[in-house]
Assembly symmetry: C2
Homo-oligomer: 361 residues x 2
């Protein structure tokens, strides 16, 4: 009987309430597939600052180190926005975890579900044709972590600086992630850069072309970031895998998420070279709706599915969750934000959606 | 009688053919308003590389220096894409002109014309509510020009680096441009940054807040770049003036341009502290449709209008062009890309649209 240890970090805002549903789903999966899943919960983010004075307390980091994977909720909120950059939940917890565990490969799937195409902010004829992409974002380098970074000088001449930086090795490994993903999908990688301006992007193109030689079955195209934000609106069907640096992936993946119109459905995976990973919803902590029991738990539940698939290699268990989610959506068991104003009274609560998925498993 | 000297740089792709129409329009304006406009044409971009070995030949730069303003077409194309970064048309000509003349303030208006709302890729109910924004983009600093920038190291450890850099003074002057623009519009500035990750963005927020104190009549909001790309799709009406750094402005202005669905209508202005400026269409050189006489000349013609307004202070002349363009659009005198497939046989040519506008002036 397979035994796994999962570190659960619910965080702030809607994090705890959607995590409760993912927890239930993992329990149901454990029963059905005969797995022993040990879930240990730790404080992270703003609530950890309030309780322990640090967004990523040592006990949390230690718990993650002992785990086979991390299931992460969401962190941050207006309450902690005025802290110095280094102490804020996003940097002190999320970015630290990413870099501590070298979680360089961030996979962000985004698709327009045919039943939910009307939720997309795109014109009906465009949305109806669909979108089904994975953004493969480099997550541990680039301008997020490049050194030096700081403030210098005095008065009006005082200046701030950040460094964007990429090595060939860093570009190569994320490009390989993208080509591997494309090979299992529709065989196309679109690499997003700003090669007409950035030296980093020129190297990015060069190494990506080298990697492409090992994947004759996959097509490689290059697109400038400014043009990418445009083409995604005009013809989202043109894209399969979008390969991006850290900053460009942040922007492109959020644009793709919004194009689906159903942010509450989107999970993400951040994985290192040995398959260890952190799995979290694509959306934020949504402090405005926290505690009301109306948040959509599906992104968190699909994050648990990605955890089973990528870190634990429990593919059948992951497939079972994905199937139950698709069924739930087509059965119309939906939280309010997926329903039109007139249909809103049919909304299911966070817990009802979680229960429905469990019962299908 | 007012006399002005305008440097005309048509460039590559559709540049020359749309510039010919702007030239006609400026002639008509000169007659009607009794201005003496001397237009001197110079080579720039890929065609200048082919003819003179440099994208910005000395004669072109000298011609710009002697002018009161620059009317720019568009440059670049696949033919010159594999040149080293520093020699390519975009860097060697456009970025050099921006930095040589310190054209720090880039204004990119984007609006959904009610008559053309169906062209927007956004859902009908969203597009119908409209969008009318100006992106105020910092154009001479940030990661485009920050030093150091280069390649170091060997083998797989070889790395590329670019520096994002902003001084208080640089942020202050572009923030002032944005607040001044907002004061003449709907009184709202949304500043786009990534303050949860970048030191440059933290300073950007701080200085923007300082500038805001001098504009009690203008509201200031801050938004992260990733969230901005999303909210523009969901509720474009929320925005008035978008204040952006160089890189973020490149991305956001192109997203806004695509949201209008009519790229061929959008001009832009790049201005320095003394009102000297470069005026160019927001779209690119579109080599795929060059030479066919089907390109929309309106963006180039509205760029001439911005030139009259911002560099020459000839507000009545600028108003006359803007009015003629609105009339032309509502009279249905449109190039093909603004028409649906079924209506395409009613398309007017580049020259017909230019002539129609002249005749209205
Ligand atoms: C919270 C923030 C630092 C983070 C990022 O920019 O990476 C978030 O936007 C994300 O995409 O996971
Ligand atoms: C051509 C390129 C260097 C340029 C930029 O990124 O500034 C263009 O995209 C623009 O927006 O004017």
């Amino acid at each position: 009987m397979s035994t796994y240890n999962i570190a659960v970090l619910p965080g702030d805002g809607i994090g705890p309430e959607v995590m409760a549903e993912a927890h239930k789903v993992l329990d149901a999966i454990a029963t059905r597939f005969g797995l022993t899943l040990t879930l240990n919960t730790f404080d992270v983010g703003g609530c950890a600052i309030d309780k322990h004075g640090h967004a990523l307390p040592p006990a949390t980091l230690a718990g993650c180190e002992q785990a086979d994977a991390i299931l992460f909720g969401s962190i941050g909120g207006p309450k902690w926005d005025s802290l110095p950059l280094e102490q804020r939940p996003e940097r002190a917890a999320l970015l630290t975890l990413r870099s501590h565990f070298d979680l360089f490969s961030n996979l962000r799937p985004a698709r327009i579900y045919p039943d939910l195409a009307h939720l997309s902010p795109l014109r009906e004829d465009i949305a109806r044709r669909g979108m089904d992409v994975v953004v493969v974002r480099e997550l541990t380098s680039g301008i997020y972590f490049g050194q030096p970074k700081g403030l210098e000088g005095e008065g009006e001449q005082q200046y701030a600086f950040d460094t964007m930086r990429y090595s060939r090795a860093e570009i190569r490994r994320i490009a390989i992630s993208a080509f591997e993903a494309a090979r299992k999908r529709r065989g196309k990688v679109t690499s997003v850069d700003k090669a007409n301006v950035l030296v980093c992007s020129r190297l990015w193109r060069e190494v990506t072309e080298e990697v492409a030689k090992d994947y004759p079955d996959v097509t490689l195209e290059h697109i400038y970031i400014d043009n990418a934000t445009m083409q995604l609106l005009k013809s989202p069907t043109d894209f399969d895998v979008l390969l991006c640096s850290n900053l460009f992936g942040d922007i492109i993946s959020d644009e793709c998420a919004m194009i689906t119109g159903s942010m509450g459905l989107l999970p993400s995976a951040s994985i290192n070279g040995s398959g260890f990973g952190l799995f979290e919803p694509a959306g934020g902590s949504a402090p405005d709706i926290a505690g009301q029991g109306i948040a959509n738990p599906i992104a968190q539940i699909l994050s648990a599915s990605m955890l089973l698939r990528y870190s634990l290699n429990e593919v059948d268990a992951a497939d079972a969750i994905d199937k139950a989610v698709v069924q739930t959506l087509s059965d119309g068991v939906l939280t309010g934000e997926l329903l039109s104003q007139e249909q809103r009274h049919h909304a299911h609560s966070t817990a009802q959606v979680g229960d429905y998925i469990c019962q299908l498993i």
